[in-house]
């Protein structure tokens, strides 16, 4: 395999992705645009804790740590999944360029993954900034910061792998529908938010929802992210890590197989260049 060529391709797609994301305005406005949504998202959810603390007079730093870390790290996954799932919809329905990109890059699945890299990098930066501001906002002290940096970075990489392949699977459905592709991707992002240990532990969910939460890697990943940020946070490290690795492998396999089938079917039916004019 010619690695140089492969990296050049990835770089070219990342550059294209960056241009598509940002060339509608000046770089400093784009930086503001990227930060406004997550910061207001942080305020929106952090005030849940603040509203509770004000009305009840109770302060619960553990709950605040849980909430802020959940919101911060969700940005990484949410931004990345959006980066994969919107490509097909946007390129086919908005700009009508999917067919050109399809023939200019050897593999549509890898093209989607390469397109999302910029979003994951943005998500990574945003998650760190939101974390710092969130800690300050709810008055969490440095005692809640006792990170294991190598583990934290490893968890970011694992998060990228499972979430991007989950998004690839969802993108497979986008090939056939202008309406349901984006809806399914929004539903997945919403389900990860609800069932992923983001704002509250999944243990308080109704029993019938627990199997679904267990199928998704988000809840394990989020707990491990919290642990890697504060090694005093109580988790069963080896159990969770092995569970997450197994789920990640399964999601990668499903992503590859499902997308390959969807891609083949889409070519057979000739829908790659068919705009649905939703």
């Amino acid at each position: 395999m010619d690695l140089n060529r492969w990296f050049r391709r990835i770089y070219a797609i990342m550059w294209f992705s960056w241009q598509e994301l940002s060339n509608w305005t000046k770089p400093y406005i784009f930086a503001v645009y990227v930060m406004v949504r997550p910061l207001f998202g942080l305020l929106l959810y952090a005030y849940i804790y603040i509203a509770f603390a004000i009305t009840s007079g109770l302060v619960n730093p553990d709950a605040a740590f849980y909430l802020i870390t959940g919101i911060a790290f969700y940005n990484f996954i949410g931004e990345g999944i959006y980066g994969v799932t919107w490509v097909i919809h946007e390129e086919r329905e908005h700009y009508s360029i999917l067919k050109y990109n399809y023939i200019s890059f050897p593999n549509l699945r890898d093209y989607l993954l390469a397109r999302s890299l910029v979003n994951y990098i943005i998500g990574f930066i945003v998650s760190i900034i939101v974390l710092i501001i969130g800690f300050y906002l709810v008055g969490l002290g440095v005692s809640y910061l006792n990170p294991n940096i190598p583990l934290l970075l490893l968890m970011y990489i694992i998060g990228f792998i499972w979430s991007s392949f989950l998004a690839v699977t969802v993108s497979g459905t986008s090939l056939f529908s202008a309406e349901y592709g984006p809806l399914i991707s929004e539903a997945i992002a919403g389900l990860l938010f609800l069932l992923g240990n983001v704002l509250f532990p999944t243990s308080i969910l109704p029993q019938w929802l627990l199997p679904l939460a267990e199928v998704l890697p988000m809840a394990d990943w989020m707990e491990l992210m919290r642990y890697s940020l504060n090694i005093g946070y109580q988790v069963n490290l080896l159990f969770l890590l092995s569970k997450l690795l197994i789920k990640t492998i399964i999601y990668v396999i499903i992503g590859i197989v499902f997308f390959a089938i969807a891609d083949r079917l889409a070519r057979k039916r000739g829908v790659l260049e068919a705009s649905f004019h939703h």
């Binding site: 509608w24 305005t25 645009y33 406004v36 949504r37 997550p38 207001f40 998202g41 305020l43 929106l44 959810y45 005030y47 849940i48 804790y49 603040i50 509203a51 509770f52 004000i54 009305t55 009840s56 619960n60 709950a63 909430l67 908005h94 700009y95 309406e179 809806l183 929004e186 539903a187 919403g190 389900l191 938010f193 609800l194 983001v198 704002l199 509250f200 532990p201 308080i204 969910l205 004019h277």
Partner: protein, 272 residues
């Protein structure tokens, strides 16, 4: 027939025609209704469970359900009305509409009426699910007051949508991004998940400039806290003033932006 009268009649005819398409198109596929109720419910449920996890007072569930239902109207203003010029232009419909001679405000009024009806159905579904699944309790005595504030809120909100749509007539892709930018800040400043009284004074002052914040607060006071309509005179007055002011500003901006877009040839420009 005077020019103004015939313009208004054409405007209303265009509004009825556009709202018909909006209502028919928005409900022709029943599964869309399910999705549009299901997706906001995912976020709303997350917040309800968070409050339950914190052992927050029960009225917070009602706050969240009402906030979530009302927020659907803001999303409809942003994506269904504000960015309509963007979509109509991208699909090539805007130039066809312009050559018919019907005023643009007719198109937007139609989008607003159709959008209100569609979103009301979805918001009601969210409230019903909130009542039956999360045991949210609403005071039936407060319903007339809540309906009055609801109608005034929609009038002010969709008048604001008029200004937004005119801006998108000029700035296409940037307008699209602006819509994205206006989601979370509005959710926060309107107190979607909590009463705005938890904000510091300055933030409460800023929030009171937005019709949605006043509307959500008024409806919550009626349906959750059991306030009488007499105690909500301030809310009603503010919403009436906002409607008049925002409508006047919206029509002015629309006329100006339409002139500019015609002069600069932006009515048929795509992908900008």
């Amino acid at each position: 027939m005077s020019g103004l009268k015939s313009n208004v009649i054409r405007g209303f005819k265009a509004a009825i025609a556009r709202s018909y398409v909006r209502v028919k198109g928005g409900n022709r596929e029943p599964s869309w209704l399910v999705w549009e109720v299901f997706l906001p419910l995912l976020m709303i449920s997350s917040v309800v469970y968070t409050y339950q996890n914190l052992n927050a007072p029960r009225e917070f569930v009602g706050f969240v359900i009402l906030g979530g239902a009302m927020m659907s109207f803001w999303f409809n203003v942003l994506w269904g009305m504000g960015s309509v010029m963007y979509w109509e232009r991208e699909r090539g419909n805007l130039e066809i509409f312009i050559v018919t001679g019907a005023p643009l405000y007719g198109l937007l009024l139609g989008m607003a009426l159709g959008g209100m009806l569609n979103t009301t159905i979805r918001a009601l579904a969210i409230i019903l699910i909130g009542v039956f699944v999360f045991n949210a309790y609403f005071n039936p005595v407060g319903i007339p007051g809540a309906i009055l504030i609801f109608i005034l809120t929609l009038a002010a909100l969709y008048s604001l949508g008029l200004s937004l749509a005119s801006i998108y007539l000029m700035y296409a892709r940037s307008g699209w991004r602006a819509s994205e930018l206006l989601s979370e800040p509005m959710m926060f400043i309107s107190g979607m998940y909590y009463p705005i009284t938890v904000f510091p004074f300055l933030l409460q002052l800023i929030a009171s400039l937005f019709p949605l914040a006043i509307g959500i607060d008024g409806i919550r006071r009626c349906l959750v806290l059991g306030s009488s309509i007499n105690s909500l005179i301030w809310h009603i007055t503010m919403l009436v003033i906002m409607t008049v002011v925002l409508l006047w500003i919206g029509l002015k901006i629309l006329r100006y932006m339409e002139m500019r877009a015609r002069r600069e040839g932006r009515l048929i420009l795509r992908w900008i």
